[in-house]
Amino acid sequence: MSPSRRWSLKYSVAAASFAILLAACGGSTASKAPSAAASTAPSTAASTAPASVAPSVAAYDGIAYPKIAVDCKNRPPNYTGEFAQIKAIDKLTVEFDLCAPDVAFLSKIAFSTNGIQDADYLAAHAKDKSIVRAPNGTGPYKFKEWISGDHITMVANPDYWGDAKAISPTLIFKWADTAEKRLQDLQAGPETASGIDNVAPADFAAVSSNPALQLINRDAFTILYLGFNVDDAPWNNEAVRQAIGIGIDRKRINDTFNPAGSSVADYFTPCSVPGGCEGNPWPAFDKAASIAALKAANFDFTKTYDLYYRPKVRGYFPNPPGVAQDIQAQFADLGIKLTIHVEDNATYLSNSSAGKYSLFLLGWGGDYPDMTDFVDYHFGTGANKAFGTKFKDLTDALTAGATQIDPAKRIEIYKQVNDLIAKHVPMIPLNHAASAAAYQANVTGAQAGPLGNDAFWPVKPGDQPQIVFEQNSETSGLYCGDESDGDSLRNCEQMFDPLYTYKIGGTDVIPNLATSCDPNPEGTVWTCHLRDGVKFHDGATLDANDVVMTYAVQWDANSPLHVGNSGAFDYFPGLFGGFLPKP
């Protein structure tokens, strides 16, 4: 991560906090709408509007969702979310009222699941799930066809509101689930594939040395770790975990199994995230000290222990069996016998989240550039049982960090968080694995950002009339409010615009459909100003109600439109704390 990029990342979060402080000194940059401004849904959507919409008293029929804002001081039972109300102030102004400040708000609304939908289209197509295979966004590409199992075709949107219109008139997504197959298709020529995702690490050199191809590195935004269930012996002894923590040669694993651009993880969170690399780095590898510490902790070297992993290749885990075997060998060097257990993917995820594995290999690919996406998810109060009982000092620090709007104070908190993780050792961070995409050599404008949100509208496919990009798997659905796999989200990102977005190829957050989103001094109200004249692909015009309903349909578990694809809407609670529960 270059110093300039790290600075600019920290600046984007600092800027949000600075805006709050500036508003406190120079007057409010945003104001709460008066409570009497609750309003009805537009008449076109009245027949299928959610029951909680209130009558209009403003010139614009703006929606306030829910009609009566959540009382943050007396929350409904089971409500853990951060939203109190989302409302359309006027045609081009939306206000998000939060129960507590959220420093990562702009990063979260930029996430792919929050691409803005047309409220009328939602009303017409969400309930019967037809929206899943017939998307309607505002993006530079619009949907043309989806041949199930084969490909998805998009065409350039000639009415795109932005300056950066799509260069290639046609964009086709195909898929192949092995890296070798994807590379074979790329090598077969531009008619078969313009570009592919996730080149196998072993093929990096082959692609780089092929004059007909180009390798585009994707900076690491992942973490691979060796996890402990801290409730299970012998790993319930913190001294034992600390000993193992310095007994694993993480550099050896990184150098042996990861592609160029990967790094040893001295912290759980990549350094590209503000606060990620604050505090003391992970202690250095010292085998002799590790063995001595294990003996001092009365570790039982006579027993054989179990190590679990799943063979599924992931961005953070390009060679699962290799790493597992190396871990086993390194434990053997410490005098500890391990038996490796390989589990099927679905079984593994169920069991690991239930805390059934005492020692296991797992990882994480980041979604948005904030500490809450990494450490809160894994070690916070809402984390699953994979690591066993949570550490109160750590969860308290994480809660403080998530709500601290002062960037300098936030950094201090995350220093403490990183030090506590190194002290308690719920896991050993191994590597931040990089990855890469590959394209035909004559393709220009291609990028591979760390967040995986690759933009295809600036891509010129050489002398071909279309871009053909081969991803890892078939898209599950194109209503991305209810999708979580990277391939589906990548497809959505070409057709939908969120209020803010990440800079192409990077992690900086910039305005998109909103010209700005401004917080009040406390950071509990965010007022977003929309661009005027933006059209959806079906010709409808963007207004504030579309934004309200985009979020409301995901947020309100009781809404008849809260149907989605699988109905899980699994990103929403992770981003914004929880659903509005059913009464």
Binding site: D150, K174, A176, Q184, G189, T192, A346
Partner: protein, 358 residues
């Protein structure tokens, strides 16, 4: 004959019921939740509890089975949890791909296999016989995924830029679109079973392109099938060649063949008119078994060549615990297999008059 057919059809009912029960309960006792298979690392306990309740997975398994059978009785095979598509729709999309691939694989394997078997039997112990049988052994021995990858490497990579280049994956060149039959025939508003049948045949691209004279599409679709058909058909070809040779040799050793030769008939006439028809019964049996096996979906071939057929769909659905898809596809494959076997058994009567008289 008609009583025999009716009896066989009635026997399919308990067989299907057994398959249905077995597949349903086997897929539900697989470890790992559907929720976590779908959502992955981000799934939480609360999320999965809601998910299970939404999809009826928190009901007792027997209750889920009853609900499934009730739906099945109304023609509802359920829907994919991953894509929300009805299983019926997925079948209409995926089964034609497998049928088309199987057709061309057998079109490659059967005539060539029979021919090689005849040549080998006619020239027993000659160099031609040895080479043919060695080739058959090789065909059976080489794993499909090795053969498929080698074919793709040679024809898609090494021969790139030549007239012999063949596409390594997919059904059509990206950018080409086949016009559905309902559009060609002006039936876009048609709904119901007839629409499903038309869509089914529409998804057999070479058939669709042939009858609607979309010649560019036909040639392109056919070119995309060459490599997977060869890869998939090599094992049936080898088996059919060996069985044909073996069966023909048995028949050529019979007295009536000696009589035919003694009458002055040429070897060619003896083989073609007298020996071959009587040696076809085992070949037809093998053919039927191969059709059934191919209809089950050639997972490896479909994966290597990126074809969205039945085998790949079932394989992906098992991994993602998409129970409805697994159940629906297995039931349909089982029905197909049983009907193919029935057709094979009925064909015996036409091939061998002795069976007909019995």
């Amino acid at each position: 004959m008609s009583r025999y057919i009716i009896r066989r059809l009635l026997l399919t009912i308990p067989v299907l019921a057994g398959i249905l029960i077995l597949v349903f309960f086997l897929s539900h006792i697989l470890p790992g939740s559907q929720c976590r298979a779908l959502i992955g690392e981000r799934a939480t306990d609360a999320m999965c509890a809601d998910f299970d309740h939404l999809h009826g997975l928190d009901l007792p398994v027997y209750q889920q089975f009853v609900n499934y059978v009730a739906g099945l009785a109304q023609g509802d095979l359920g829907a994919s949890v991953k894509t929300s598509q009805p299983v019926t729709t997925l079948l209409i999309e995926r089964l034609p791909v497998t049928i088309e691939l199987s057709f061309y694989a057998l079109l490659f394997a059967v005539p060539l296999g029979v021919l090689l078997g005849i040549v080998s039997a006619s020239r027993r112990n000659s160099s031609m016989d040895v080479v043919t049988m060695a080739g058959a052994n090789l065909g059976v021995s080489v794993p499909i995924f090795v053969l498929g990858l080698m074919l793709a490497f040679v024809f898609s990579y090494l021969l790139k830029g030549t007239v012999l280049w063949l596409p390594p994956s997919g059904r059509l060149t990206p950018g080409l679109t086949i016009t559905p039959l309902v559009v060609s025939w002006g039936l876009e508003d048609l709904k119901g079973p007839l629409r499903n049948i038309i869509d089914f045949f529409s998804n057999i691209y070479t058939f669709n392109a042939l009858i609607t004279a979309q010649w560019v599409i036909f040639v392109d679709a056919f070119r995309h099938l060459i490599l997977p058909a060869i890869a998939l058909g090599t094992i049936p070809l080898a088996i059919i060649a060996r069985i044909t040779r073996s069966s023909l040799l048995d028949v050529l050793g019979l007295d009536y063949i000696r009589t035919a030769r003694a009458k002055g008939l040429s070897d060619k006439a003896v083989v073609r008119h007298h020996a071959l028809p009587n040696s076809m019964l085992p070949v037809v049996t093998i053919f039927g078994l191969q059709v059934g096996a191919l209809l089950g979906g050639a997972v490896l071939t479909e994966t290597i060549f990126n074809l969205s057929g039945v085998g790949r769909a079932v394989s992906e659905s098992i991994a993602s615990r998409d129970y409805a898809v697994v159940q629906g596809f297995v039931v349909v494959i089982a029905i197909g297999y049983m009907f193919v076997n029935l057709a094979v058994d009925i064909s015996y009567a036409f091939l061998d008059p002795r069976i007909r008289l019995q």
